[in-house]
């Protein structure tokens, strides 16, 4: 646990659990970095970005400088929706077209 902020251990979400064992630190970090990179490609379509927070959470930033911490990807999309004012819907053809570029 981080003594300063109280962040606990590793991310506990289904999106993480299939990809690396908890003891495999290097692999976990690599996959986390990749998760953030790919999420940023999606978030950039609405001028948002996400970065790592202590290896256990994420900081989502909006175009006006607003920044908030979220614990996992499940919460990320809800907050991203609030910040951008629009849904991140993977069935939306315009979002798919921008990802495919």
């Amino acid at each position: 646990m981080c003594g300063l902020c109280g962040a606990l251990g590793v991310e506990d979400h289904w999106t993480v659990s299939a990809s690396a064992t908890p003891s495999d630190v290097a692999e976990r970090r690599r996959l986390r970095a990749r998760r953030i990179a790919l999420a940023n490609r999606i978030l950039a379509t609405r001028r948002l970005s996400v970065e790592d927070f202590e290896g256990s959470a994420y900081v989502l930033s909006g175009p006006t400088g607003r920044r908030e911490v979220v614990q996992d990807l499940g919460a990320l999309w809800r907050l991203a929706e609030q910040m951008s004012g629009a849904a991140f819907d993977p069935l939306d053809p315009s979002l798919l077209a921008r990802i495919a570029r």
Partner: protein, 350 residues
């Protein structure tokens, strides 16, 4: 104290519409010797004398998860009841039960129960979600229950479907019901209560572990409709005339197939977004994935917004190495899901 098992205890969810025979089924299964070490929770006052078992009461109260999606609610009383049961077990005040059976009310949506078991920070270390067993009333299912959205949810999320009152309907009606159930939830095991094997209620079934290869293989097995195959299929692949005008006309089940390895990160981002936006319309997901970098498949399954922790299986069930995902949805078609998933795994991940 030395007899206490510290395993993570499966919670089997027994659900089914009002009067569909849940309690009768429970009474029959739990009276067998093999189920003597079972704790039972009911959320309506029990009508059956289960004197050797433990009875509790769970009130229908919900609270909101602070860090999850809006629909992932936790049933506080269920959490309290299970914590209390576990504490008493560990203190030796009650026998060291090896499974819990939770009987829901006839109108219950099993989704929040699953999310409680997966998301509660204490429960998830002591309990795991076992099979969801749904009883289906052969007399009233197509005539009445099919018009209730709660019935559809209960059938769609089931790992096991038990058809009850089979002696009160003719073969044709029974066959039509089996056909509807097969179309609605192709991945569930189906049994008639008159020929019920105790296995349908075994605690570990429905729980995907690394050695659950056969369990996962059944999700994708072609349907064996038995006598239903002797009767004409309903027009245009729908559910047939009996259920015309019911909520079933919006429900569809289909299998999305990808014939190549998939990038787990891109897939996880896609599914997390899909469930965030459309979790209410995605009643059930079950998948076997060929993940890049892994020699063995990853099995995952979920109910509405909630996904169980994915599991690396020990081996592939057969020679088929394609990724396959069964969806049961309401109003979302396969021709929107498939291209969306392909865009994410092919374009986002490149």
């Amino acid at each position: 104290m030395e007899d206490i098992a510290f395993d993570v205890i499966p919670v089997i969810v027994a659900t089914g519409f009002l009067g569909s025979g849940k309690t009768t089924l429970l009474k029959r299964v739990l009276s067998s010797e093999a189920f003597g070490d079972t704790a039972v929770l009911v959320n309506e006052f029990g009508e059956v004398g289960l004197d050797h078992l433990l009875l509790g009461e769970v009130a229908p109260d919900t609270v909101l998860l602070s860090s999850g999606c809006l629909c992932c609610s936790i049933r506080g009383e269920l959490s309290d009841a299970l914590r209390g049961l576990y504490s008493r077990r560990q203190r030796g005040e009650i026998p060291a039960f090896r499974r819990v059976v939770l009987e829901t009310t006839g109108l219950a949506d099993p989704g929040p129960i699953v999310s409680t078991l997966l998301a509660d920070p204490v429960l998830k270390h002591h309990f795991r979600c076992g099979a969801i067993v749904t009883t289906v009333d052969a007399v009233n299912a197509l005539a009445d229950h099919v018009r209730q959205p709660e019935w559809i949810r209960q059938v769609a999320v089931a790992d096991r479907l038990v058809i009850t009152k089979t002696d009160l309907v003719d073969d044709l009606r029974l066959a039509r019901l089996e056909e509807v159930l097969q179309r609605l939830n192709p991945a569930a095991d189906k049994a008639r209560s008159d020929a019920l094997d105790e296995q349908i209620f075994q605690g570990d079934q429905g729980v995907v572990r690394s050695d659950s290869v056969e369990e996962v293989a059944r999700w994708f097995r072609p349907p064996d409709l038995g006598r239903a195959a002797d009767y004409a299929a309903p027009p245009s692949g729908g559910f047939g005339p009996e259920v015309h005008g019911s909520h079933l006309s919006d429900v569809q089940s289909f299998c999305v197939i990808l014939d190549r390895e998939i990038d787990w990160t891109a897939f996880a981002l896609w599914l997390s977004m899909l469930l965030h936006c459309h979790g209410n319309e995605i009643l059930r997901v079950k998948g076997l994935l060929n993940v890049a970098g892994s020699n063995t498949p990853v099995a995952l399954h979920g109910v509405q917004h909630v996904i169980h922790p994915p599991v690396h299986l020990k081996r592939w069930p057969d020679d088929d190495r394609r990724s396959r995902i069964v969806f049961i949805t309401r109003g979302i078609a396969s021709d929107t899901i498939q291209p969306s998933l392909e865009t994410f795994v092919d374009k986002l991940a490149r």
